[in-house]
Structures are given as C-alpha cells and as structure tokens.
C-alpha cells in the first residue's frame, strides 16, 4: 500500500500555520488589550450610581437644546450622588432643560431670539452660578393655554351667572372628554391678572358684553404679549400638581414667543422668576471641558474617560460633543478629522451632545453606553448598535473618532 504523502513538513504548511497562529495571537492580544484599556464594565444608570434616578428625556425638533438637556442631566446626576449641601435626594425635582437653555443663551446672546446651538460648558457654568430650576415649575408655567386657568382669570370680568355657566360648560366638557380623575380633584386655581391687564380691561367698556370665548381670546392675546402676565397667570405652586402629571410640549410656546419679537432675555425672565421662590442648590462642582486637538488627542480623551469610569465613586457621566451620524450610519462613519492643530468636522457631521453613562467589553471590543435626549425609542439608530430604551452601546474607538470635545464634573 502506497504511503499517503504528508504535507505537515512542507514549507507551505508551515507558513500557513505561522500565519494562522499570528492572526489568532493578534486577535487574542487585541481582545486582551481592549479589555485592559477598557476597564471593568460599569453602568452609571444602575446599582444606585449617579444616573440611577435620572430618567430618559426627550426633546423636540427645532429647538435644538441638546446641550441644555445634557447639562441638566449632569447636574441632576451630581445632585443625586452627593450628600447635602452639595446634593439632595429629591429625585422628583429634575432640572429644567428649557430653563438651562434660556439662562445660558441670555448670558451669551440675549439679543437674539435663539435657543439652539448652545454650549454645554457654558450651561454648566451658568447652572453653577444661578442654580437649577425645577422642571415641574417651568412646565407648569407654560401651561397657560389651559382653559381652566383662562376661565379662572376671566372671573373678575364676567357677571356671576355668565362665569358659572362657563365653568359648568367646561366641567361638563371635561367629564365627557376626559377620564382623568386626578384633574377633577385639583382645586380650582384663580391666578391674579397683573395690574396692567386689569387696568387695560377696565378701560374697555365692551368687556362686560363679551362672551366667555371672546374674552378668553382677548386675554390670550394680551398675555401672549406680556411675559409678566404669563408669570402672574400661573403661580408656581398652583400649577405644580398639574405639571406633575403633564409634560407640556413647549415647542409652539417658545417659537410663538420669538415670533412675537420677544428676546431670550424676556423668556428667561418669565421662566426664572418662577424658580426664585424655591431654594436653589449650591453647586460646588468643577466643570472641565477638553477640546480635541493637538494636545487633547482622541486617544487622550478616551483614556481620560476610561480612567474616570474606573475611578472612585461617585462616578459622574461624561458629556461628549460628537457627530451624531455615528449613531445612524454605524461603525464605519467618521465625522471628525485632525489636520495639524485644527479639528475639522465633516459636512454631514450633524453636531450633537450626549452623555456617556457606561462601559463594557463586547466581542473583544470596548463599548461606551451613550445616553441620548431623544426618548426611549431605539428605532432611529443603526442595527449595528445594541440599544436599551434610548441608551445606545457604541464601539468606543468608533465613537471617539467622532468626538470633538468632552466635559465632566468633578
């Protein structure tokens, strides 16, 4: 019987074995290296850590105040993870992103009717100096379209029978259309009209002849022009229980404000006056912002994040300024390039701000958990990324290729 020729000693076999073992070794070493540079897995939104009581929030289209959402969540994480007087455990009192945006833009661009495109590090500075504003109060403030409040405000100007009829109609409508028992238990609030509006209405002889609807329209027109009226219309405490159960869509309100020629400074005045009645939190944090460039390279920024995620508790989330296309287009997208000292953003970068709130190693690769401000939906994101209720696991290397700055609190 002829002996079967063996290839085991042939040069081709040896070369193939060598290449295969090299490939295996490289991948093993890379996995180990990734795991070592990555550090242990951590979730800041679990196990009572700093983000455990900071819910996923959503913002709206054209306002573009992601920087304010990020700053608000950073400050809440700081509050909830520090003992008094630095922090507190009032988890239902969340910082209002809208107030953060108006405060920040008032400081920087108070003459422009613009809220979008702000910077997180400025927002953090402003928050540190002026404190945070309870989002329930701000949302309650913008509930001025509430028919009940408008009705209540009309009371002094209607004869008793007309007012009672209007209230009866309103309550009947409520019973027909709404099953909310909570609302019907809410005691009626009668917010005072401001003096200017009162005086103005007294000068109008036709007011007494107006129907509730006509008067309502008139008051709505007046209040829209006057932020002071807005403030008086909805006292903070009176609206808190409404705001607790209701998130007001403030897009139309804010844009309507600007369309009427108001400036950020007026909007800010209307918002922040409501907050002054409540104690504000003294913030002793130090905000650091590192802009990517020749000194703070991508690798350096990644190293800082990894080191601090492995550091002592309470570990704080990181804000990243990045090209959001990485979330939709997946691993291959690159939006940031460094040429010399300059950091360039691609045309389709779509600059955005979000938080890094976790880390893990998956399939030998280090991943960061990104908390976006677009709600719990995972539908917008690339299938390459695993997503849990609006928090997205993104390969750390690919993410950092698209990051142009990092901020954190200390």
């Amino acid at each position: 019987m002829a002996k079967r020729p063996s290839h085991r000693g042939s040069p081709t076999f040896l070369l193939a074995t060598l290449i295969a073992s090299c490939v295996v070794s490289i991948s093993v070493f890379r996995s180990i290296a990734h795991a070592q540079t990555c550090g242990p897995a951590i979730r800041l939104d679990k196990d009572g850590r700093s983000m455990s009581h900071v819910p996923v929030k959503t913002q709206e289209g054209d306002l573009g105040i992601c920087y304010a959402f990020v700053a608000a969540q950073m400050v809440d994480a700081y509050r909830f993870s520090h003992a008094p007087p630095e922090g507190d455990r009032d988890f239902s009192r969340l910082t209002s992103p809208l107030a953060v945006a108006t405060q920040t833009q008032t400081h920087d661009y108070n003459r422009d009717p613009i809220l979008n495109g702000g910077e997180t590090h400025r927002a953090l500075e402003v928050l540190k100096s002026s404190g945070s504003c309870d989002s329930r109060l701000v949302e309650g403030r913008f509930n001025w379209y509430s028919k009940r409040l408008v009705l209540a405000s009309m009371k002094p100007f209607l004869n008793r029978a007309a007012y009672e009829r209007a209230v009866r109609d309103y309550e009947a409508e409520q019973k027909r259309n709404e099953k909310s028992r909570e609302l019907s238990k809410t005691p009626p609030t009668v917010p005072p009209l401001d003096k200017t509006t009162r005086e103005y209405l007294k000068t109008r002889p036709d007011v007494k002849k107006m129907s509730p609807d006509e008067l309502s329209k008139l008051i709505t027109r007046l209040q829209k022009k006057d932020p002071v009226y807005l403030e008086n219309m909805s006292s903070c405490d009176g609206n808190t229980n409404v705001a607790n159960t209701f998130v007001q869509s403030f897009y139309d309100v804010v844009n309507g404000f600007f369309e009427r020629g108001e400036r950020v400074i007026e909007l800010n005045a209307a918002i922040t006056r409501s907050c002054s009645e409540k104690p504000r939190h003294p913030f002793g944090y130090k905000a650091h912002t590192l802009e990517r460039g020749a000194i703070y390279t991508r690798k350096f920024l990644q190293k800082i994040i990894n080191e601090r995620l492995s550091g002592p508790e309470p570990i704080q989330p990181f804000k990243i300024g990045f090209c959001q296309n990485i979330l939709f287009r997946g691993n291959s997208y690159r939006g940031v390039t460094n040429i010399g000292l300059t950091t360039l953003l691609a045309k389709n970068c779509q600059p955005h701000a979000a938080l890094i709130i976790g880390r893990r190693v998956k399939d030998g690769r280090c991943q960061f958990l990104v908390r976006n401000s677009w709600g719990t939906s995972c539908c917008p994101y690339s299938r390459e990324w695993e997503c849990e209720k609006g928090n997205i696991w993104v390969n750390a290397d690919s993410l950092m290729e698209n990051v142009y700055n990092v901020s954190y609190l200390e």
């Binding site: 996923v56 495109g117 409520q174 998130v247 869509s249 719990t376 917008p380």
Partner: protein, 153 residues
C-alpha cells in the same frame, strides 16, 4: 424502514410548523405603554399601547394593527405617513441637536408632536407624532424611515 409519516403525523408537523411561524413573529413583537396627553394643551392623559418591532425599526400605536397573522398588517394615517417621510425638507438647523423626527412630524407630515411618559417607575419619556385619525407613531421611527427612505412592507 420507511421515513414516510402517516396522515395524522403530517398534520401535526404542519401544525407545529405553522404555530412556530406565528409565534416566531409574535416573539419578535413587543409592546410598551405610554401615557399620552389627550391634547397638547390638556393635562388629561390616556394610556396608549404601542407595538414595537425592533427588526423593522417600528414603534406604532396598536390600533394600527389590522391583522395579527404571520405577517402583521398595519392600516392607519401614522403608518401611511411613514411612506412619505423624508429628510429632504430638513435644513442645518434641524440637525442642531434636536430630534429631526419631530420636525418631520410637524411640517411635511402634518402631525402633532406629543411627549409620552412610559408607565414605569422611572417615568422615561419618548416623543410621538399623532395624526388626525388618532393613530400615533414614534418620532424615532419617522426619522429612521426618512433617513433610509424605507417603505413599510
């Protein structure tokens, strides 16, 4: 030995295959509840159930489901809107940090943006687009379909 099954066994195999097909679809489907304000200016809210199909990047109110057969069929204004969702009308400002899906909801699609709060202790939020027939779709879904020009099957 014959490998041919008798008739009752064949029926059992077919039934098992069909039930696997149906349950396979049902397994990939999840549902989630959000409290959505009845009107943007109303504090009253209603619990709405949403169907979640991660493979299809789809979260839509369950009233849109017209058939729960092997392939789920949807019929409502929100689902029809996904066919025409497009990023064409978006400009640079729409990409300045906000949710582009919310902008598409308003202008080209004519929907109404509402914020829902999930019925969990965390009270997480999500943005939705509501249409005149009352059907609701997640704005993240709108953006994904607009981005990819996906046509719902």
């Amino acid at each position: 030995m014959s490998h041919t099954l008798n008739k009752p066994a064949q029926i059992a195999v077919i039934a098992a295959f069909l039930s696997f097909g149906v349950s396979g679809v049902a397994d990939s489907k999840q549902s989630v509840q959000f409290a959505i304000p009845n009107k943007p200016d109303s504090p009253a809210k209603k619990n709405i159930e949403f169907v979640l199909l991660p493979e299809r990047h789809l979260m839509i109110s369950s009233e849109c489901v017209k058939s729960r057969a092997a392939k789920i069929i949807f019929e409502c204004a929100a689902y029809r809107a996904l066919r025409i969702a497009s990023t064409v009308q978006l400009n640079k400002e729409h990409y300045s940090g906000g949710h582009p899906g919310a902008a598409i909801c308003r202008t080209p699609l004519g929907g109404e943006f509402v914020i829902g709060i999930e019925n969990t202790p965390e009270r997480d939020e999500n943005g939705f687009c509501r249409f005149k027939d009352g059907s609701i779709v997640d704005v993240g879904t709108i953006f994904r379909y607009a981005l990819d020009h996906l046509t719902p099957e």
